[in-house]
């Protein structure tokens, strides 16, 4: 039953918002180190699905097991599991009252992962990795969108997560800043991070995804290697969607 290669196991996941059924029946397994891109028209449920993986949205029914922990079980300490799941948001959600380094070290220090000094050292390394060590004292309001998103990635990495979730990380960026964020994400892929990415960047999906999952109306319609999905889609809805975005 327990398969160490499986990082995220989702079975018959349903999610309603009142009368609105957003996720109707989602089952999927994601392996350790796998990079999965979720594609689909807006309202298809991809963001909601992503947010269910760290229970920012509570599943209405179904089972989600992350790294061997059943997070849909009420007895699981969701905070502990979230420490292993980094999340990057469309609108960055940096803490505006804290400077860049403080944003990065807040969680590791508060959760007693390390002392403040250790966290600062690690934080600077992370900022270096995303190319922003010179901005450690700046406040989020002084950064460009691309820089903000790179800080947000560093902040999520500071907890040493096993999984990274990206919710349209480049959708709020000016076009010229998309590249710098995708580059950082690509490096994470190269490091073997397990990633689930909601994005409209087809180029990114084609290049780095191990698997593309096409969602529509609360279901997974089709999934496969990027070249299969993009070059040879089988479902009418996938074809229709790809015709509009490619």
């Amino acid at each position: 039953m327990v398969d160490n290669r499986i990082m995220i196991h989702v079975e018959n996941l349903k999610k309603d918002f009142g009368k609105l059924e957003v996720l109707k029946d989602i089952s999927i397994e994601i392996e350790t180190g796998e990079v999965v891109v979720l594609l689909g028209p807006s309202g298809s449920g991809k963001s909601t699905f992503l947010r269910c993986i760290n229970q920012l949205e509570q599943a209405t029914s179904g089972t989600i097991v992350v790294d061997g922990k059943n997070i849909t079980d009420k007895h699981t300490d969701i905070n502990k599991v979230r420490e292993e799941i980094g999340m990057v948001f469309q609108h960055f959600n940096l803490f505006p009252h804290k400077n860049v380094l403080e944003n990065v070290i807040l969680a590791p220090v508060e959760l007693k992962r390390m002392t403040k000094e250790e966290a600062k050292e690690k934080g600077m390394q992370l900022l270096k990795r995303v190319g922003l060590e010179s901005k450690s004292d700046a406040y989020p309001s002084q950064l460009s969108g691309g820089q903000k998103q790179r800080v947000a990635i560093a902040r999520a990495l500071a907890m040493n997560p096993a999984i990274m979730l990206f919710d349209e990380p480049t959708s709020a960026l000016d076009p010229e800043m998309v590249g710098e964020v995708l580059n950082v994400m690509q490096e994470l892929v190269a490091d073997g991070m397990t990633m689930v990415v909601v994005t409209h960047e087809i180029g990114f999906a084609r290049e780095v995804a191990d698997r593309v999952v096409f969602m529509d109306a609360g279901y997974i319609v089709e999934q496969g290697r990027p070249e299969e999905i993009f070059n040879n889609p089988k479902e009418a809805r996938t074809i229709d969607f790809l015709n509009k975005v490619l």
């Binding site: 760290n54 905070n79 999340m87 803490f95 505006p96 009252h97 508060e110 959760l111």
Partner: protein, 222 residues
């Protein structure tokens, strides 16, 4: 006018001191009450939501003067009915309770609005890192909420300071009560109330100037 200042000056100042004491005590408790009920209101627990709403509606629905009478006369009378004979509240105690309850209800609304003004993504980002609801509230949401709340809180402080005058009706020797005594003794209503009014004004204008500076300092780091 000068004769009143000469004769009653020190009494007026000590009455002003009592006004400030009452204001300060009430505000401290009002902040605590306001924070508790605001947190009850913004949380997801339905029972807490209800308790918070009932408190705010009940207190805001009753004039302060009625609340003061209720606490000063009503509550001890009620306690006597259940058999405890010598329970009494001093005017300061009753006044502080009434004002703190009243101001606390408004404070709860100010704090709730402040918390709700912070983008939902802030709480989500903090929770996604593994921080608990409480820590996220304390470290991420409240520090941002306080900035938007400061002007309203200062305004509420000033209203509370003025509202202390209502507590002259339960005999607390604050500034307005002293004004009544002096004008009764001297029959110089015009001068007495002018002096009392000016004293309030000086304190409140000074307070709002100080508050403006605090507000600017807090906003500078943004």
């Amino acid at each position: 006018m000068i004769s009143i200042v000469q004769t009653y000056g020190s009494m007026l100042l000590s009455a002003l001191g009592k006004t400030l004491l009452l204001t300060l005590l009430s505000l401290v408790f009002a902040m605590i009450i306001g924070m508790i009920f605001a947190l009850m209101n913004v949380g997801k627990n339905r029972a807490f939501n209800l308790a918070g709403t009932v408190y705010v509606d009940a207190v805001r629905g009753v004039p302060l003067i009625v609340l003061a009478y209720f606490i000063y006369f009503g509550v001890p009378a009620g306690i006597k009915m259940i058999g405890i004979q010598d329970f009494r509240l001093t005017a300061l105690q009753a006044g502080t309770i009434a004002l703190a309850m009243n101001c606390g209800a408004y404070m709860a609304e100010i704090i709730r609005a402040g918390i709700e003004s912070v983008d939902r993504g802030q709480m989500e980002a903090s929770r996604s890192l593994g921080l608990t609801y409480g820590k996220s509230m304390r470290l991420v949401v409240l520090p941002q909420a306080i900035r938007t709340m400061i002007p309203s809180i200062i305004n509420q402080f000033i209203i509370t300071l003025k509202d202390t005058s209502i507590l002259s009706v339960i005999g607390f020797p604050e500034l307005t009560n002293m004004g009544k005594t002096i004008s009764g003794n001297t029959f110089k209503s015009l001068e007495t109330w002018a002096i009392v009014g000016i004293m309030y004004m000086i304190v409140i204008v000074t307070l709002s100037k100080v508050a403006k500076r605090v507000e600017r300092r807090v906003n500078r780091g943004r």
